[in-house]
Symmetry: C2
Subunit: 202 residues, 2 copies
């Protein structure tokens, strides 16, 4: 032959889902556990939450700086979510993929829909939680007003209907973050075993 | 909502690949590790190998008995491989699926192709190994004549070209059986997270 050597292409993995579902917690745990991905750092105009670090958790930028990035076409995608801008710096993703590394990023549901159009072969994972758990987590942040909570839950209900646009769904239960991470890791392992490989072109 | 409860359907998983690639060893290890599958017991007319047990490893039947099963349409698929019959009892698979259990079976490459046609939503996994390792394993069986070895390697080369008909490929390296099993387990976990569920109809 000689027999098949499995040369898998680097993947572009998107972790998405409603606000409060645990996207940040999931990615932080994966980072702690040393998964060999490039973890994309998102640029955002929202205020830093306690414990967050500029350049590690997000690039915290001003609205003016964000608008400049849009104008220079430096963002893979960007969106206005809950009155704050969020966007993915393009160069960062290209560099990681070029070096053969899998790239993983968190995105709001509308951002994931944009990536699906731009990069059809991205692996889209939808995190879900029960409405009760979702509400509990948003309340625990203590940064949300009652009006903002109501808005986020209403949006989450709507976003749930978008699940059909995703490849995989993972239920992120309270106190079961390691199960969530284990399932995401399994999805990535399985994707690397696919006979028909995905092709990421940016 | 209330939020999504992931009700995954039972899967029909086929482990296939060239002769000597390690299908039996892989399934035995999964069985030892207590995976909650129904492991299909294949009916065969080939002689028992040392250590094999009737009803556990295979149903060892005579050619007359096998032909009777074909005539009564009791086999999901059957094939003549290296001058011996092998077949999957239909009732066994139906009962397991009806009880909500995932079903896993080993099949030769031609058997897997038959299942793909009969059950398009089956999960087809192709095991591969290097030609050197494959030859080593066939020789270690000490049941193969030099002519039979040559025939099996030639067949394996041909079978490798059928990989495109499979969903996943897993490399089964010597002394890395646990990696093989871990990858198969990941594939099954990932399949259970798919938004678009497979539907197994027999």
């Amino acid at each position: 032959m000689d027999f098949y050597e499995h040369a898998s292409q680097p993947l572009l993995v998107v972790i998405s889902g409603p606000s409060g579902v645990g996207k940040d917690a999931t990615l932080s745990r994966m980072k702690e556990m040393g998964y060999p991905f490039h973890f994309v750092v998102t640029a955002t105009t929202r205020p830093k939450r306690p414990g967050e670090v500029h350049g590690r958790d997000y690039f915290f930028v001003s609205v003016d700086e964000f608008v400049a990035m849009i104008e220079k076409d430096e963002l893979l995608e960007h969106a206005l979510v809950y009155d704050e801008y969020k966007g993915i710096p393009k160069s960062q993703v290209r560099q990681a993929l070029a070096s053969g590394k899998d790239v993983i990023m968190r995105l709001d549901v509308q951002g994931a829909a944009t990536i699906r159009k731009l990069v059809p072969d991205a692996v889209l994972i939808f995190l879900v939680a029960s409405e009760k758990e979702l509400l509990g987590r948003l309340q625990a942040r203590k940064t949300e007003s009652p009006a903002s909570l109501t808005k986020r839950i209403a949006t989450a209900r709507q976003e749930m209907t978008r699940m059909v646009d995703f490849d995989y769904v993972v239920v992120n239960r309270d106190h079961h973050l390691d199960d969530t991470v284990r399932q995401i890791a399994a999805i990535i392992t399985a994707e690397k075993c696919r006979v028909e490989q995905r092709r990421i072109v940016l």
